[in-house]
């Protein structure tokens, strides 16, 4: 099946113009999509720019409510990718943008007050929501689009009990270390290619009397999550993807040998008073520093490196140039060997709660390459999608860091793994792992920490 994505080359350039034009000419009824369902796609719609939308049918007067934790300014970028769908199918997409999505969606599931679609940022929460029995499996058109556009691991993440529910939306990469290219050039530091080189570089900087690292894990009730990312990165690097999966699925205990060693390896950085916490205080100050503030000492020359996901690009002041030759940029957190390319990342999934054509059509649309290209084209925080057919050329307006992310995601050698704490049961992934990691930073031993997390794992 083709899904009407014939004119890939010219489409997005046209789209922006077409959208403006369409606003005036009201295409709703004229798109003629109702006779033109998933199988078709060959007969072009009379309205320019709407050819790729014919397959979704005429959805005039229909409304799809979308609930998400994505908030300003990214909400606007998201709405921009919805606009062509609304214009061409006549449907209305009503977004509800709420920071406390992750806590509220379960409450709403219990209260029976669910949206049509929830944009779920964690596989663990996704599983919990599907387990409520209120989620609706994806329809065939969405499944076909996902098979065509995404690596199988992404489909697995959106599935439960052999049924596919939620297509992926945007993705991000967490295995980054932020640094100052200017400092590295002037001091003659080179970007480390292995974990040993990273350690050697840290020692080298520490020997000059400067604290090489800065870190912060404070984040309201989610305080502690950045430590979970550190631990996952090291687990994935030291023991490989298989062992990582076993750890996340609890095939090996949280307090078994490998995870304990991985946390200790992280401790060699985060709990090393020679390494932290440049410009922010002692080791304990990691717990009280918000993750947003944690990287900023790099710009003041108070520390040299900060391990944080790609989204951190938004936290730098406007005056700082984020580029490979600028004030600040990120390098890929290396593996044990230079040829290893483990990638830790995250993503969002579109979970449906209402069995209606417009809801399925919208899910299929977000799974399409049309949507992925639009999202890349919009720039900002919505650039990176795991859609392997997305056109890298459309990412021209994206930041350098997003382009780096896209190239890492499309690298065939990359071994991508989802943020493990997100995939763990919520009693661990959004509670004890955060809490105990915070206690670990403020002095709790590694053994007590992994023992307590293991004890909290639901039996």
């Amino acid at each position: 099946m083709t899904f009407g994505i014939h004119r890939r080359g010219g489409f997005p350039a046209l789209a922006a113009l077409a959208v403006v034009a369409l606003a005036a000419t009201a295409c709703g009824g004229s798109s003629g999509g109702s006779t033109n369902n998933a199988g078709g796609g060959t007969s072009a719609s009379p309205v320019a720019g709407c050819e790729d939308f014919a397959q979704y049918g005429n959805l005039k007067g229909k409304t799809v409510t979308v609930y998400t934790g994505i908030v300003t300014p990214e909400d606007q970028l998201l709405k921009d990718t919805w606009a062509p769908f609304e214009k061409c199918t006549g449907a209305t997409i009503k977004g509800e943008f709420d920071k406390s999505f992750e806590a509220q969606i379960l409450v709403r599931a219990k209260a029976g007050n669910l949206p049509d679609i929830g944009i779920v940022p964690q596989p663990g929460l996704l599983k919990a929501l599907i387990a409520t029995g209120k989620a609706v499996p994806a329809d065939q058109a969405t499944i076909d689009a996902v098979d065509k556009n995404f690596a199988p691991s992404w489909k697995d993440l959106g599935s439960a009990d052999g049924k596919f529910y939620a297509p992926p939306q945007n993705a991000n990469i967490k295995s980054f270390v932020w640094y100052s290219p200017k400092e590295f050039t002037s001091k003659g530091y080179t970007i480390p290619k292995t974990l040993d080189e990273l350690k050697a570089l840290s020692d080298k900087i520490a020997a000059t009397g400067k604290k090489p690292w800065c870190a912060g894990i404070s984040s309201g009730e989610a305080t502690g999550w950045p430590v979970t990312d550190w631990m996952e990165d090291w687990m994935l690097r030291l023991y490989g993807a298989d062992e990582y999966d076993k750890w996340v699925n609890h095939s090996i205990a949280f307090n078994s040998e490998e995870p304990t060693a991985a946390l200790d390896a992280v401790g060699a950085y985060l709990k090393n008073s020679k390494y932290v916490n440049g410009g922010l205080g002692d080791v304990k100050s990691i717990a009280s520093t918000t993750f947003q503030d944690a990287g900023t000492p790099i710009l003041k020359g108070q520390c040299s490196m900060h391990r944080q996901a790609s989204f951190y690009a938004a936290n730098w002041p406007k005056t700082a140039k984020v580029a490979p030759d600028g004030d600040i940029f990120a390098f890929y957190l290396p593996g044990v060997k230079a040829e290893d390319k483990p990638v830790l990342g995250g993503g969002e999934f579109m979970l449906g709660f209402r069995d209606a054509p417009e809801v399925h059509a919208f899910q299929a649309y977000v799974s399409s390459t049309t949507w992925a290209n639009l999202s890349e084209q919009g720039g900002g925080g919505r650039c990176v999608t795991p859609n392997k057919n997305a056109d890298p050329a459309k990412a021209a307006s994206c930041s350098d860091i997003d382009k780096l992310s896209i190239s890492i995601l499309q690298d065939p050698k990359a071994v991508f793994r989802f943020d493990g704490s997100d995939a763990m049961p919520s009693a661990v992934g959004t509670n004890s792992f955060w809490k105990q990691a915070t206690a670990w930073i403020t002095g709790q031993s590694t053994k007590d920490t992994v023992d307590k997390i293991e004890a909290s794992w639901p039996k």
Binding site: E221, G224, A287, S426, A427, A439, P458
Partner: protein, 322 residues
């Protein structure tokens, strides 16, 4: 649902309410005499009882029921959740913190309120002085928490770094080194409790001040003629006269303190050993997905509040009886 639709629903609901009340009134008016009075009383009570059953009794019983079930709410576990609360080291820290909150907040806030009320009583700037301490009452708990988070803010003692927190700035100016107020347990609990006292002292002051002003002038004068000094006046005249008000203030702040949630959640998120029962109930129910333990914590909170409420009611009765 469109806005018009929502309004229509609202008017429907109001119409329904009026109709139901109308029916009840009409029916009630048909009865008279002694037996009739009872029927009238029952007719008026019925809607209230029904609503309390649906809105309070049923959820309450359901919570108690859930507290005997496991995390997913599908298997009976007996008193396991309760034994977790009293045996798990982290949960015991939660209990310890709650005890700290309840023992310190009501007494300190009431004491400060009382002292302040006496000090400013009949002073020249009484209105202004009272307004100043009452002001924090007008600020929401979350707002107050954010304000105090800035007061406690920490920056390291390193060259080129300025303190942003008020308290640490004062400490540094006096030659000390900055302190992590919110991290070092168990003292960090005291710094959280301080926020609650800051809010509640104004409430205590207002109620107690009004009650001090209500002390009959002749009692005070008689005491003065007997040569009573300030302390004795306070101990034997003021405090006994305002005893009912004192108890109301203490118990009200006590109940509020037991339920404290906003301050802890905003300032530390329950980290650094600062969680309290209400915060833990929320985290367990809605973040950890442990319905059973969450429900058990809610029940525990209820059990802890009951004696205070009961005492309050008894006091109210005995003061009415006088």
């Amino acid at each position: 649902m469109t806005t018009t639709h929502k309004f229509l629903t609202m008017f429907e609901a109001i119409g329904l309410f009026v109709a139901v009340v109308g029916v009840i009134l009409t029916l009630a008016s048909r009865f008279s005499g002694r037996k009739g009075d009872r029927i009238v009383a029952a007719a008026f009570l019925l809607p209230t009882v029904a609503l309390i059953s649906v809105g309070l009794l049923y959820p309450g019983l359901k919570t108690i029921y859930q507290s005997f079930y496991n995390a997913a709410g599908n298997a009976y576990v007996g008193f396991d959740n309760y034994s977790t609360i009293f045996s798990d080291p982290d949960q015991r820290t939660v209990l310890r913190n709650t005890v700290m909150w309840v023992l310190i907040t009501p007494f300190v806030a009431t004491a400060i309120g009382l002292l302040y009320a006496i000090l400013v009583d009949k002073a020249r700037v009484e209105a202004l002085a009272k307004a100043l301490i009452f002001l924090p009452m007008a600020i929401s708990f979350v707002g107050a928490s954010i304000i105090w988070k800035f007061v406690y803010d920490f920056r390291p003692d390193q060259p080129g770094i300025k303190q942003t927190g008020l308290l640490n700035e004062i400490i540094v100016k006096l030659g000390g080194s900055p302190h992590q107020f919110l991290i070092d347990s168990p003292l960090n609990n005291i710094f959280l409790i301080l926020v609650m006292i800051w809010i509640q002292a104004g409430f205590a002051m207002t109620v107690l001040s009004a009650s001090i002003k209500a002390i009959p002038e002749d009692i005070v004068e008689a005491a003065r003629l007997d040569g009573v000094r300030a302390w004795a006046m306070f101990r034997y005249v003021t405090v006994p006269s305002i005893r009912p008000a004192l108890i109301v203030v203490l118990t009200t702040i006590g109940i509020g303190t037991l339920k404290v949630f906003d301050i802890v959640r905003t300032m530390t998120g329950g980290n650094f050993d600062t969680s309290v029962v209400a915060n833990e109930f929320y985290s367990q129910s809605f973040r950890a997905g442990n319905q059973g333990l969450g429900a058990a914590l809610a029940v525990l909170l209820f059990v802890l509040v009951v004696p205070i409420v009961a005492y309050n009611v008894r006091q109210l009765r005995s003061s009415e009886g006088r």
